[in-house]
Symmetry: C2
């Protein structure tokens, strides 16, 4: 069933039927009802390819996925996707993943924009200087950044969590508990989130006259193994940290293993706080010693971004508004006063 047939059946022109269905005002209310009715009865659905060719609107949102034989997609992605998908479903929005060679996403963004394959994209894992942002603005492709970049003075649509605030608070807590040497096991420090977290911790320390020495910082890809190695390396120093701040639950698994290997107990010997993105399959309260965390659901972020993308597409949102979510500090058994 296509438009022509439906129109003929109703003894109307395609124009009128099209307008009736798309809510244009220049059609009699009764006619509209008739049309809507017939459309529903016959299960008419406009052909998206045709609509797309005519309007240039795709009705989909996009994501450029960095790939490569040595590139691993972040496991956080799947949680984010759960939220995004859940919202997208309720609005019949599909998501297009366009694989790109890691390092050269630009080509793919250009292709996607030129082909008008999607109406908007979301961008993740931004870096302080991230060319994607200016590129997208220049291409005129609506977007929302999950995270932040310094680009354009932050005047572009984004959604981020308060990474700095989170680690500032966690750091302050540890300082208050008497810790002076606090180790940071961070994610890749070319990414903004990691930089913000480090800054947060540093601020908390400086406020008490403590400096955050580079010796206390490790910046690695967030795997269990790297968490282990970083912890071993931090704790193997002459003046090891008495507390560790860790950027992910997965790495914390490794940290806990390292502590056990070294026969150090949590929190007696070492206090531990980690950032929790809220995975259904790995929960901080189930760590050997319940883990204190800075918590923010990445899934909610996915849903919110989908919502805002939808709003942008339909023109309801068009200011370059940024949104920064506060992060909860959840204190559990893994922190205690610094050992004397």
């Amino acid at each position: 069933m296509n438009l022509k047939q439906l129109a003929r059946m109703l003894d109307l022109s395609q124009t009128t039927v099209s307008r009736a269905l798309n809510g244009y005002p220049e059609v009699n209310e009764e006619t509209r009802r008739r049309v809507m009715d017939a459309a529903k009865r016959h299960g008419y659905r406009p052909n998206p390819s045709a609509r797309r060719l005519a309007t240039g609107k795709a009705g989909m949102i996009g994501y450029v996925l960095p790939t490569g034989s040595n590139v691993d997609i972040d496991p956080h992605f799947v949680e984010f996707l759960s939220g995004l998908g859940d919202y997208a479903r309720s609005h019949e929005l599909d998501l297009v993943l366009s694989p790109a060679e890691a390092g050269d996403e630009e080509t793919t963004y250009r292709r996607v924009a030129a082909n008008k394959q999607v109406d908007a994209v979301y961008v993740s894992s931004p870096r302080p200087k991230d060319r994607r942002i200016t590129l997208l603005r220049q291409l005129g492709l609506p977007f929302i950044v999950h995270g932040r970049s310094e680009e354009l003075d932050f005047a572009y649509p984004h959604l981020d969590i308060d990474n700095e605030g989170a680690f500032h608070e966690a750091g302050r807590l540890l300082v208050q508990l008497g810790h002076r040497r606090i180790g940071l096991i961070n994610g890749d420090d070319r990414e903004t989130f990691a930089i913000f977290r480090e800054r947060g911790l540093r601020r908390a320390l400086v406020a008490s006259g403590i400096e955050l020495s580079p010796m206390m910082i490790r910046s690695v890809v967030m795997t269990e193994e790297n968490g282990y190695r970083a912890a071993r390396s931090l704790l193997g120093q002459e003046a090891p940290p008495t507390a560790i701040l860790c950027s992910s639950l997965i790495m914390s698994l490794g940290v806990v293993r390292a502590l056990r290997d070294l026969d150090l107990s949590v929190p007696k010997d070492v206090s531990l706080v980690a950032h929790d993105d809220v995975f259904p399959w790995l929960r901080p309260e189930n760590f050997p010693v319940p883990l204190s965390t800075t918590r923010s659901s990445i899934r909610f972020a996915g849903a919110r971004i989908a919502e805002r993308l939808a709003a942008r597409i339909s023109g309801l949102e068009d200011d370059p508004r940024g949104e920064v979510w506060p992060v909860d500090l959840v204190v559990r058994g893994s922190v205690a006063g610094a050992p004397v």
Copy 2:
């Protein structure tokens, strides 16, 4: 730059230019060269929307993503995606994720097929009786199943690993080591993979005259917490297992925690074998006691499925061929003779 302009520029008809670019035979080789050349020089790329409307081919592959506020996407998905994406990139194939309400994927499959949004789809987590398979066949939408279903007597394209063989071998090893009570912590037993794994273990036991009692089986969603609970429950029985076979590394984390809580050591008190899908961020050799595993890279599966989907789309593959990969049994420190 569109076809019309390019044609005018070359002083040829659109027909000829189109044919030249698409490799049709009825065009002079020299003309073709001229066309190809000009196209490259001017960076001409046919508009996919238009091509799509004309041909009905989308140039994308699809996946119907079950979603819902209580639905969590499997973390394995991201690894699968890494492989799929890596292959897809090299062939400029995009992937469309169409969110569906979990439980009613059918509506979405129908929509995707009717709209010709994608040229082929892949289907995951099949169940023994899985309506999606007959549905897709009926809709005429090419597909490949990742996993197996009993549907159609297995005569549909699929890629699976030998789950039965894997757990059979693992079970046999444990039996040979003298274990008589072997616990199974499985995934959702409505899914085929879990059924096959159970069957494999049972076969191994039966071969030695041992029965696999329902008391020895737990079937749960694969989270750390469920692994813990299942292990506690298995080990809390009067005649607890002396060995445990676990369907995922993530659950194994919980199992290890449970063992520790119960002051049981691996492998002295309990031997442990898990299935490893090969995550970059969690590796069996890094468990407190290196974990023995049945190993199969889910990432390779993703790449292979992308390859076969591409082949199906271009008509290179069209038999309902099934493909079952053997699984490696990797023995590490977590298994030992049964305690006396």
